[in-house]
Symmetry: C2
Subunit: 126 residues, 2 copies
DNA sequence: CTGGATCCCTTTGGATACTG
DNA sequence: CAGTATCCAAAGGGATCCAG
């Protein structure tokens, strides 16, 4: 599935992880579900701007990967709760590293981008 | 740009990072460029299956974000080298966490998926 | 050798309306 | 409340040819 070469298999492992947490809403949902069980509409309000369809899809995929546990309470009206699994909680600590990096370098990246756009942009339209 | 709510701004920082390293080839390129300067065709051979277009695009974006440094040697034939910046090297350490997580939980996720597909799959086609 | 430009297909994601 | 179904737009990504 993933050719084994020098550093590429390492990259492959990372990508497996990255692919799983990529997606516009995945991290937000994961973080919310780590603090405790959350309901569908709670998430819908929490993740402002998400559509029902994307919320459903993202939840399904997370459940499928074993990162979320879905509990249906057979009541009227129905009540469904989502909660992060242990595996997801471990991931959370790894995520913290990324948060740190993002925080530290947010400004650098922005500067780099503007610099790049200013420089290269002019060359193109020369 | 990113509404500040409870845990969402935290998720936002993660997403900034995730968005930057997502993309099919980004991590592979980053890892290769972290070990030392690499040339265009080296990468093309290393990342088996990548198209020239995607290699170019990914390199451009990484350079734009300040994660890669692009050095042009004014020779004939032209020679261009890419190397990871300090910022990218810091990211590499954060990535290591993810690698660990991916390695530890790869099997779990696969199991979870097959289990999910077996269970839910039947319900759908009922 | 190192790309740029173009075409085209696939995937992702959003809006909305409907249902148990 | 918690979804499902459908339609549609935008982005991702591959193939190929062209150029400095």
């Amino acid at each position: 599935m993933c050719e084994e070469q020098d550093g590429v298999n390492e990259a492959c492992s990372v990508m497996e992880a990255v692919n799983r947490i990529s997606g516009k809403w995945t991290v937000g949902i994961l973080l919310a579900a780590t603090e405790g069980p959350v309901r569908f509409t709670e998430l819908e309000r929490h993740l402002k701007g998400i559509s029902r369809r994307m919320l459903t899809l993202t939840l399904r995929n997370l459940e499928r990967d074993g990162l979320l546990r879905r509990t249906v309470h057979p009541t009227v009206p129905p009540k469904v709760e989502y909660e992060a699994t242990d595996m997801a909680r471990e991931l959370h600590s790894a995520l913290a590293e990324l948060v740190g990096w993002a925080r530290r370098n947010r400004a650098n990246i922005t500067r780099s981008r503007t610099g790049y756009d200013d420089t290269a942009g002019e060359l193109v339209r020369s």
